[in-house]
Symmetry: C2
Subunit: 279 residues, 2 copies
Amino acid sequence: MNFQQKLDVIVGKNNSLVCVGLDSDISKIPEHKRSEINPQFTFNKAIVDVTHDLVCAYKPNTAFYESRGSEGIQELKMTCDYLHEKYAEIPIILDAKRADIGSTNEGYVDFAFDWLGVDAITLHPYLGKEALKPFLDRKDKGCIILCRTSNSGAGEFQDLLVDEEPLYQRVAKKVVNEWNANNNCMLVVGATYPEELAAVRKIAGDMTFLVPGIGAQSGDVEKTVKAGLNSKKSGMIINSSRGIIFASSGDDFAKKSKEETKKLKNATNKYRKETGYVK
Amino acid sequence: MNFQQKLDVIVGKNNSLVCVGLDSDISKIPEHKRSEINPQFTFNKAIVDVTHDLVCAYKPNTAFYESRGSEGIQELKMTCDYLHEKYAEIPIILDAKRADIGSTNEGYVDFAFDWLGVDAITLHPYLGKEALKPFLDRKDKGCIILCRTSNSGAGEFQDLLVDEEPLYQRVAKKVVNEWNANNNCMLVVGATYPEELAAVRKIAGDMTFLVPGIGAQSGDVEKTVKAGLNSKKSGMIINSSRGIIFASSGDDFAKKSKEETKKLKNATNKYRKETGYVK
């Protein structure tokens, strides 16, 4: 089963396009958790245990684990191990935004796909397809290429015109037409730019998008859903991180994260239905 | 003392522009080392102990440590700690090729500059200046932005024309004119593309370049040096990784790595002298 097949199964089972971003910044998790053993892992476990039937994926971002060095990386590993053991049907997306020259990327492939055992990874396009070959060759895994990112300064390079089209659209075309021979490519398109999201959808057919920027980054759910759905009224992994996992800093953090996940799931499905989705 | 000042001191003291890339792939280090405790660290230690008076910097690439998970990351930390303790005057460049949205980059800043305590890091430009602010704000550290990379497929995006100039030159101009307010920016320009290196030098004034691609990647030393030197006959950190550290797979690996480092140092200085450098 490749990434897309695994994703399709859980999207159907949980009837959800929502991805919870496990950006479990040690300085933002509830204070009473910070002094526990393995604070990031136990925090993640609590979130996962109450949201697993509401999501289509989990997306830990490596930066929040690396910030604590090897100890944090170990808790990222524990998080992935726990997900494999208890919720093996839910794909894990490693938001690592890696990309080096080809021979070096093999190290990142080992880290992400083999040591952590995640199902997909986010990648920078700047070094080109040739450099990303070690990732692209992994038919069983997903390669999610940065196209139009969610940050306010994304346009500095991504909007530069190349033959009268913005660079991010050129990235989308390359990925769709030239990089996707193994049917394992996806694109990152931020929820904070619904017009650009719609433009990339026109280019990308039914390709799945990872869509960050909902929640703390203020992406609009209705605009995002309506701009990004594919012909099957699906094809999006809609991520919220801080808006869900840090919904409360009290003892009720897990309960509140569940409520926020449910809210986002219901909102996305409402707008999907308005476009003709039936479930 | 900021990165450039620290670099200038050691370039002068060791009379060297050579950087040794500690790309200590566990599957490529001498077989008799692999079964030792902390094989990557002890391998690095052996290399560093015989090359420290021949180099201007060390450059470990995170991929080769991440490939072993938290254990590898711990050996990267041990390597940095050892360098701080014994050879504190030699800058460490973390070749991590990171870049995320701003709030997330703070995690990578913690990892690189605070936990590992390295002096500089390599960064992808695709998300723009606004996203890289947590790195650029660190006046004491170096931010080395990917401009023209050394891989064979680098041109796929980097050569795309934006207003009749290739994207990599636009990246160079932005970094030189807009990103470098704290005088802490540098550029990555591969030795495998001497013409592009010369073009970036024209844009970048005396800015320091990190130049990978010598050795295993077959960059030509004479062409590289002559294309890349700045007005002070310096301004380059010329990196060789595999060509130095894996020069021998036998017991004499450290001795051979020293010989290769000396060869590269002498060759670069020979060509510097041909351009008018006096020392």
